[in-house]
Structure formats: C-alpha cells, structure tokens
C-alpha cells in the first residue's frame, strides 16, 4: 500500500476530527503537498457541505411553546393498558434480527433432528427395523430388508426333516423374495 492509499483510508476520520494530534499532522502534511489527496479532500468537503446544506436548511425552526403544550397533553393522556403492554413487550423483543437468527437456527436444527417425531409420513419412510439377535433352533431363516417400502422381513423356513407340526400342515414353497 502506498502513502496516498494509506492517507486516503484515514481521510474521513481526519475530516471528522477522529484522529489524534500526531496522526492528524501526518495527514495534513501529506494532503498539503499531494495534488491527488488534496482533490480527494476537496471532494469529501464539498459533499459534506452539500449534505449539511440540504439537511440543515430543510429543518424549520419549531416554536417550543406549542411543542410543549402538545407534549404536556400527551403526557397527561392516560395510555391504554394494552398499548403500554405492547410497548414493553416490543422493547424486550425489538432486537436486531441477528439476535434472533441464532436461536432460530437452534430451533431449526432441533426440528430437523427430531423430524420423525412430528411428521407421520416421514415416519413411514423411516420404518427400518433392526434385527438385534435371532435363534431359529436349527431351522433356516431368511432376513430381508426392502428399501423402497422400508420393510424388514424375518422368514422362517419349514425344516425339510419335518417338525412335528409338519404332519398337519403341508409345506408350501417360501416367498419368492
């Protein structure tokens, strides 16, 4: 960064009287000797003057007596309780939007993580059972999980050697998974 860029960065603060004495002197010396920075200073001064003229000139002088008279009337007027309550509540919650962004994000995060408690249709999409343990006592068992319908199936096959119940039931072919 060259000297002019550094000075330009401090220019507004210098013109606003926000620089310390030593720093102000540095800026002043440079501006006095540099045509470019001098032009920048002039530009800022012109803008500030024009702004001041427009803003200040537009403000008419207001007489205090009628102003106070109206204010006194408002002070004496009893505020409806609901308006007073609304103002108190508004004062508490009237923070910049960013103050609410963080709690809102927290609530959103909790909602996303807990969606299945609140959305029945989502629940069915997440209907995946987990088989923790299985003992078929020597019989053949098939486990199937079908993703689309989120179906978990435990299929117990009839033992070919014949369980005692086979005498009553005719074994049928298992499902064509």
């Amino acid at each position: 960064m060259n000297e002019c860029e550094r000075i330009e960065q401090s220019m507004e603060r210098w013109l606003d009287g926000e620089l310390g004495a030593a720093e102000s002197e540095v800026v002043r010396s440079h501006v006095d000797s540099c045509a470019n920075c001098g032009a920048v200073e002039q530009r800022l001064v012109k803008l500030e003057r024009a702004l001041g003229n427009v803003l200040a000139a537009a403000a008419p002088r207001i007489e205090f007596a009628p102003f106070w008279s109206e204010l006194e009337r408002r002070i004496d007027e009893k505020t409806p309780w609901h308006k007073d309550l609304r103002e108190r509540i508004h004062g508490w919650f009237a923070v910049p939007r960013t103050a609410w962004a963080v709690p809102a994000l927290i609530v959103l995060l909790i909602a996303v993580l807990s969606y299945d408690s609140y959305l029945p249709f989502w629940r069915s999409r997440n209907n995946s059972a987990t088989v923790v343990s299985i003992d078929a006592y020597g019989r053949s068992v098939a486990l199937l999980r079908e993703d689309e319908s989120k179906t978990t199936v435990i299929w117990l096959y009839q033992n070919q050697e014949g369980d005692d119940e086979a005498a009553e039931e005719t074994p049928q072919p298992g499902p064509a998974f």
């Binding site: 024009a50 200040a56 403000a59 002088r61």
Partner: protein, 184 residues
C-alpha cells in the same frame, strides 16, 4: 446558574415536571432536525419528535446515567424514526415534493437563476440519494452531518461499535458521491 442535564434528570426523577420541560426546551429542535433528516416529512417528524419526548418522560425514571442524556434521547429518537421509516409507504416523489415545499417556504435571497436551477437539481438528487440509503446508513449520515456527533456518540446512539459507524459512514458517503458526482 444553568443546571447540567444530569441535574435536571435527577429533578425529573423526583417528580419535577419543570425540569423535564427545561430538558425538552434544550433538545426539541435538535431532536426534530435529526428525525426530519431521517424521515424527510415534517408532519411525520413532528409526530415522532413528540413520541420521543413522551417515551423519554415515561422512561426517565430508569435512566441511570450510563450514557449522556442527549445520546440516550437521540437513541430513542433514531429508533422511533427508523421504525417510522419502515412503515412509510410513500414513494420517493412525495418526499421530493415535501422537501421542495419546505425549502420554498424558507426565505431565499434572489440569486443567479442558473445557480438556482443547479442548486435545485442538486437538492432533488441529494434527497433522492439520501432516501435510497438504508435506515442505518441514513442515520449515521444525519447524526454526523447535522449534529456533528463523534463516532463514539453515534455508536452509543445506534447500539453499534465505532468501527461499524466508520464503515457505514464511508459506505454512505461513497454511495452519495457516486450518485451526485456530476453535481458536485
């Protein structure tokens, strides 16, 4: 001997209405000018100025002196004015017409007609450019330009850091200059 703002505040807190009247007398014009700078409409500015002092009266019991009275008062004024700005639904043309009425009602010495046209155009474009700023940027410009407040005081009024005040001022001035360079 003139009492300080803080002494008057203490008297208000003890129930002396005359003390509040003295404070109102000291600051009513300044508050009105700041609000007018933000709202650009005299009637709205007057309404907000009244509301500012009414709120100040109601809340003065809770004022602890953590900041100066005038920054506390300006904070109320600027917050109310920013709220009012957000509620305003008028189009920019109305603002310019209001401002022209205001400016024409001032006593003006007859001048070079060309200069007058130039000044008028500058005024109109300046007002439009100011209105195009966000409420927060408009607030820093108004408080700095009209009141000449320090960055620290502006930061206290707006509830932001000095660094934020500086960057908002820089941004607002750059925007205004970009729009008005042909007139300046």
């Amino acid at each position: 001997m003139e009492l300080s703002d803080w002494e008057l505040v203490r008297k208000c807190q003890s129930g002396e209405m005359s003390a509040f009247q003295e404070l109102a007398s000291r600051y009513h014009q300044k508050v009105f000018m700041v609000i007018l700078g933000l709202l650009r409409n005299r009637d709205d500015a007057m309404e907000v100025a009244q509301e500012t002092f009414l709120r100040a009266y109601r809340k003065i019991g809770g004022f602890q002196g953590g900041s100066s009275f005038y920054t506390w008062l300006y904070r109320i004024a600027v917050n109310l004015a920013i709220d009012a700005q957000r509620r305003q639904k008028r189009n920019p043309l109305d603002f310019r017409e209001n401002m022209d009425d205001l400016l024409e009602s001032q006593d003006e010495v007859a001048r070079d007609p060309f200069a007058e046209v130039h000044d008028r155009e500058l005024r109109e474009n300046m007002i439009k450019a100011i209105n195009d700023l966000t409420p927060e940027h408009k607030a820093v410009i108004v408080l700095r330009t009209i009141e000449g407040l320090s960055y620290k005081d502006i930061g206290e009024i707006l509830g932001c850091s000095e660094g934020t005040v500086m960057s908002r001022l820089h941004y607002a001035r750059k925007k205004l200059h970009d729009k008005l360079s042909s007139f300046l």
